[in-house]
Symmetry: C2
Subunit: 112 residues, 2 copies
DNA sequence: ATAATTACAACGACAGATAAAGTAATTACC
DNA sequence: GGTAATTACTTTATCTGTCGTTGTAATTAT
C-alpha cells in the first residue's frame, strides 16, 4: 500500500488544510503540493476535494479568502486562517487524539 | 470532549464491527453494547449506522448472517466473519497504521 | 397496567468526496 | 511558430455513509 484511500482520510481534510495554513497564508495549488509532500506522496488530495474543503471552511468562518497581488499568470486565491479557525483546529486535534485511542482500542491487537 | 463525532469515525465502522466479530459470532444489540464498552462510552454507535454497516459488510461478502436458535424473545440475527472479511480487516489495519502516520504528520505538532 | 429494555428494519435527508468537464494563463520544447 | 504541459480554479452531477424518524415485536421491571 502506497496511497491512502480517501475513505480513511475523509473528515480529516479540514484539519489537514488548516494545519498547512497554520504556517502562513497559501493558495490551492501550493497547498495541494504541500499536502502531497508532507504526506510523503501517500495522500495526493483531489483537486475537487481541496476546493470544496476551502468553500466549506470559508462558509464556517474558519478561513477567509483574498486575491493575490501577482501581476502574472492566473489569478490566485489566497486563504488565511481566522481565530475561530485556529480554535477549531485545536479542538479537532484533541478529538483526533481521542479517535486514535478509540480506534486503536479495537484494532491494535491485530497489528503484529 | 467525551463523545466522538460520527464524522471522525466515519469509514472505521466496518473495521470496528469486524474487530468485534473477530472474537466470535455476535448480533446487533450485543455488538452495540460491546462497542460502547470497549470505547469507554466514547463511541456509542447509532443503531441505524450499525445495521447499515451489517448490510454493507454482508453485501461485500465480509460477514454472513444466520438466525439464532433462541426460543425466547425477539429473533436475533447473528453474524460471522468470512475469510474474505478476515483478509479485509487485516488490510484495513495496515491502512490504519499508515493513516495514523499521515494525519499525525500534519497535526502532531499542535498537540502539547 | 404500563414503562423500559431488547432486537431489528425501512425511509428520507444530508454532507463530504469524486469524476468529468471546462476556463484561462504561463512555460517548456521541438 | 505550434503544441503540450503546467499552473490555478470552477461547476455540475453523482455516490456513499451516517443519521433522524418511525415502526414492529417480544420480554422484563415497576
Amino acid at each position: 500500500m502506497e496511497e491512502l484511500s480517501s475513505d480513511v482520510m475523509r473528515g480529516y481534510n479540514d484539519v489537514i488544510v488548516l494545519s498547512v495554513l497554520a504556517d502562513g497564508d497559501s493558495y490551492g495549488y501550493e497547498i495541494s503540493r504541500c499536502i502531497n509532500e508532507r504526506s510523503g506522496g501517500r495522500y495526493p488530495i483531489k483537486e475537487t476535494t481541496l476546493y470544496s474543503t476551502f468553500s466549506r471552511l470559508e462558509r464556517s468562518g474558519f478561513i477567509s479568502a483574498y486575491v493575490g497581488s501577482e501581476t502574472f499568470g492566473k489569478q490566485r486565491t489566497y486563504y488565511t486562517m481566522t481565530d475561530t479557525g485556529r480554535r477549531y483546529l485545536a479542538g479537532k486535534c484533541e478529538e483526533w487524539q481521542l479517535a486514535k485511542d478509540v480506534i486503536g482500542s479495537f484494532i491494535d491487537r491485530f497489528i503484529q
